[in-house]
Symmetry: C2
Subunit: 243 residues, 2 copies
Amino acid sequence: MRNIMITIEYDGTNYGGWQKQNNTLSIQQVIEEAIYKITKERVNLISSGRTDAGVHAIGQVANFMTNSKILVEKIPNAINSKLPNDISVVDAKEVSFNFHARYSAKKKRYKYVILNSKYKRPIYRNYSYYVKYDLDIDKMKEEIKFLIGEHDFKSFMSSGSSVKTTVRTIYDVNINKQDDLIILEFEGNGFLYNMVRIIVGTLVDIGRGKIDISLKNIIDCKDRNKAGHTAPACGLFLKKVYY
Amino acid sequence: MRNIMITIEYDGTNYGGWQKQNNTLSIQQVIEEAIYKITKERVNLISSGRTDAGVHAIGQVANFMTNSKILVEKIPNAINSKLPNDISVVDAKEVSFNFHARYSAKKKRYKYVILNSKYKRPIYRNYSYYVKYDLDIDKMKEEIKFLIGEHDFKSFMSSGSSVKTTVRTIYDVNINKQDDLIILEFEGNGFLYNMVRIIVGTLVDIGRGKIDISLKNIIDCKDRNKAGHTAPACGLFLKKVYY
């Protein structure tokens, strides 16, 4: 028996998210089926965490136990040969039995892409959040800094999730404009349900002057109603998981 | 009557190319239908040139004559309201009657994207040419320079097109590596049928060491058989047309 860690890139557009569920095709299910075709084993693929419907990943990490004798360096191409072209295994490693893609994760980095142009741009339609309003990037750059550090991020959590604590630590944030694209990055020890999307939605609301309250105050309020809207899934990318 | 010039961005993935034809949906046809819904006029939309099936555009230009009284600054949103989300009008201007999107074009700039990584990356699957081989970028940078200037590019033209002359002038070339992506740009007074794709295919063949002949020699031979393969349509973007 071996414990195999794989790194996965996917375009989440046509899936109901990472996790297996009824009535919709999940990324987990598609990869488990591909592994079955290779190994004839029904594995339980454990990921670093769910991604919602429409969310993409550049560096999702998952692990599974297998008795298959396949050489680890052949695993990506073997699985990929059974995957559709919107999911790709880009790395595989044998890891110790106590490695758990979710519980062993120390940090995660997310990227969020905003398309800020006068008209929609088709090339980016599935990979960005289209915002037509003028955005005050300098203000957004100032505000985003308030996220750094250990805070209770309750204001930035959608209801419907049960967690022991809403305290998380953000180690790094970044916001960068490249032509029509505004690219945000967030690195932290964990993220609450919809946290990145609510932070981005709030930053957009602040940047266009729709709400006039600092992120610092919103954090202090611990009240979802004080934050802005939830930015759409299609702009979000799970970029990297650190172990 | 007014002559309206529009700039169009499209994702060519799901189309049989720019030009109207039987049995396949064309970008021209879809935009003409959208203009009809707005103006009730059956216009003839003239573009700067055809793009093949699967080729994208960031800055395709087209013009049409209309008796519609719609304000020119309202044209992009009006047409876009009738377009699918993989085509978008991003600019509109009223131009003189002698403006012709094809005959008035002075220069064109194309971009070509190669994905050069160990494994396929789903996010780029419709917008790049996946090449898994190691490529000698330095050699490709040296070779691409031979394209600059006025040359007979007969070696880089697919059969099936009739042109008066195969002489064209390339004003600028660029090749740039950004992580897994190799981005090439070509600016010239005109391009032969499949010229950019054959140039890119040849550069890839040279970069991976499959063929050992300089672009300079291939140009001199004026023989399509001396050049490399035709790179796929999905990596190609019509970036800008100059008037």
